[in-house]
């Protein structure tokens, strides 16, 4: 097998030389362009799955849906129509309440470009709804960022009815309910492990 020719190992006198390039006088003394930065844009249509369509449409009437696993009863939100842990269809829809707790959170001081609606600092949190067994991302407001805690109980603040659409953005943010916190050892995903051990221990417990 022969080696690939290496450009900078080719002797200079062997480099083919064409006729010299003549630049027009108007640009003959400008700095050569080595790189160009230019905005690019890509838009696409999203066609939701059957489970996602039900989920997004339910939002229009201020309902949050989840899927219950036929294997161990775990409730997934958003619903995907499957229990990916067990590779089975999970098409039982469950109506969830719009209250829950903060599993953990980030106080973001880095502004997202173009998001004037999101002044920094803001709190992004894992929201664990009562009756659901995984969390999802939500904005926490209605209190100082420094007062947000792991385990803090929250409820949804919805857009005015006239502005509701088939989108998770119907929930403007999550605000504290003022009820006692969920103990830190039971917050977030730990709730599922506790539930499993209380039930006598599942496969994963």
């Amino acid at each position: 097998m022969t080696d690939t020719p290496v450009p900078h190992e080719v002797p200079a006198d062997q480099v083919a030389e064409g006729p010299p390039i003549q630049l027009p006088p108007s640009i003959s003394d400008v700095e050569p362009v080595l790189s160009v930065r230019t905005p690019i844009r890509l838009e696409y249509d999203f066609i939701p799955s059957a489970a996602a369509q039900q989920y997004l449409r339910a939002y229009a009437s201020k309902r949050i849906l989840g899927n219950r696993s036929p294997v161990d009863g775990a409730v997934f939100v958003p619903p995907r129509g499957v229990d990916p842990r067990n590779g089975v269809v999970a098409d039982e829809m469950v109506d969830l309440v719009d209250t829950g707790h903060v599993g953990s959170f980030c106080i973001t001081h880095l502004p997202i470009p173009g998001r004037k609606d999101l002044p920094v600092p803001y709190v992004s949190a894992w929201i664990h709804l009562d009756g659901a067994d995984i969390g999802f991302l939500g904005l926490v407001a209605g209190c100082a960022a420094a007062d947000v805690r792991i385990g803090m109980r929250v409820r949804a603040v919805w857009k005015p009815d006239a502005e509701l659409g088939a989108t998770a953005e119907n929930v403007l943010h999550w605000e504290p309910t003022g009820q006692p916190d969920v103990p830190i050892d039971e917050a977030g995903n730990r709730a599922w492990a506790l539930k499993q051990s209380a039930a006598g221990g599942g496969e994963d417990a």
Partner: protein, 387 residues
């Protein structure tokens, strides 16, 4: 670990910088590859195949760059294979290359990871609007901040442990001529006083955005024996992954991470990692992941990893388990190369070739990488002696 004994014959790195405007992607990968070949005392014709990895293509917006890089990597007419495992890709790319030797498919393989972050914006590439959820996550720091907050809450770690890790790694970087961040005048107070970006993560506790490439030449036992220089021998290789959100998931200490370490140490015959491993290159893009992974890998008891940081156990200067002597991801982060740099630096340590950041007498080293939502893991143990 079964199959053919595998050796690291050569290592090559580029200088890591925020912008390597002097080279194209092809020039960047070629620079690392040529240094690795030179270190191994080999030429392009000695290489049977190339295994290459980088972070997702949408970072730079160049689809399947491996196709156009085949020329620059001297592998026209030879097999080239691309690996995709997010931030862990540099590690898993090396492991795929190793598997081609272990399986006796090839005798010498060039493996390489790279990123040209100056041609991309990874933070906002990782913050794309998604139809299911609200768009409020600001980059990788926004994702990992809640995990770090959970770790701090459950371990009771003092608030400044993360700053200690960041300061240590930036000090280590001063001994690495390839490192991106070389902050000679940095003080601990400056680390502490830096602004919060993703509270509890300060600006000073995050990795930089770097251009760079790292390459290794791997060979079979005969190639290792014939190598003119000192080689590193692979003692164990392991990869694991898990979903990033499921009921009962332990985000702080993922099952996949623990399983990966158990498998790795079983292969390498290691029963007491803290005592038997001399030096660790670990994937720590945000400072708190040092104590988090120290626990997950079994170097410390659960909720006690931060004590090793506080006691200085992970310092190059006087620690019994130096971690990230190269300065780590906190000092250089060409994402697709960052995992391979960990693996390559581990090899350099056991070859005694780590220069100013060499750990005296290092015989056994761990290279570690993670990616995605702390869900993809790739690890290897390399040693000065044949396994």
């Amino acid at each position: 670990m079964g199959g053919e004994r595998t050796a690291v014959l050569g290592v090559g790195q580029t200088h890591y910088r925020s912008t390597r405007g002097d080279v194209s992607m092809a020039g960047l990968v070629r620079e690392a590859a040529m240094r690795a070949l030179e270190d191994a005392g080999l030429g392009w014709s000695d290489i049977d195949a190339v295994v290459i990895g980088k972070a997702p293509d949408f970072f730079e917006g160049l689809m399947m760059p491996e196709l156009y890089l085949a020329d620059a990597l001297g592998c026209v007419g030879k097999p080239i294979l691309r690996v995709h495992t997010a931030g862990s890709v540099g590690g898993s790319t090396a492991l795929v290359a190793a598997s081609l030797i272990q399986g006796r498919i090839h005798r010498r393989v060039l493996t390489l990871g790279f990123e040209k972050q100056s041609e991309s914006n990874a933070t906002w590439a990782l913050s794309l609007p998604q139809p299911f959820s609200v768009s409020i996550n600001a980059g990788a720091g926004g994702y990992f901040s809640p995990i770090i907050r959970q770790y701090m809450a459950r371990s009771g770690a003092p608030e400044l442990v993360g700053c200690m890790v960041a300061f240590k790694d930036r000090q280590h970087a001063l001994s690495n001529p390839y490192a991106h961040l070389r902050q000679h005048d940095l003080t601990f107070d400056q680390v502490v006083e830096a602004p919060m970006l993703w509270d509890p993560i300060r600006f000073s506790e995050t990795c930089p955005s770097s251009d760079g490439a790292c390459a290794m030449v791997l060979g079979d036992e005969a190639a290792g024996d014939a190598s003119p220089g000192k080689v590193a021998w692979v003692h164990g290789t392991a990869m694991r992954s898990e979903a990033n959100n499921f009921p009962g998931r332990d985000e702080v200490n993922p099952q996949a991470s623990r399983d990966c370490a158990v498998d790795l140490f079983r292969q390498a015959g290691i029963t007491d990692p803290r005592r038997e491993i001399d030096v660790v290159e670990m994937y720590v893009p945000f400072s708190w992941f040092e104590p988090i992974w120290l626990e997950s890998l079994g170097f410390a008891e659960r909720d006690r990893g931060w004590r090793m940081v506080e006691e200085g156990a992970t310092r190059l200067d006087g620690g019994d388990l130096p971690v990230n002597c190269s300065g780590g991801v906190l000092s250089s982060n060409p994402i697709g190369a960052s995992g391979m740099i960990r693996f390559a630096e581990a090899a350099l340590q056991v070859r005694g070739m780590a220069g100013e950041h060499q750990v005296d007498g290092a015989r056994v080293a761990l290279g570690h990488a993670y990616g995605g939502g702390a869900q993809y893991f790739a690890m290897w143990v390399v040693g000065a002696d044949k396994p």
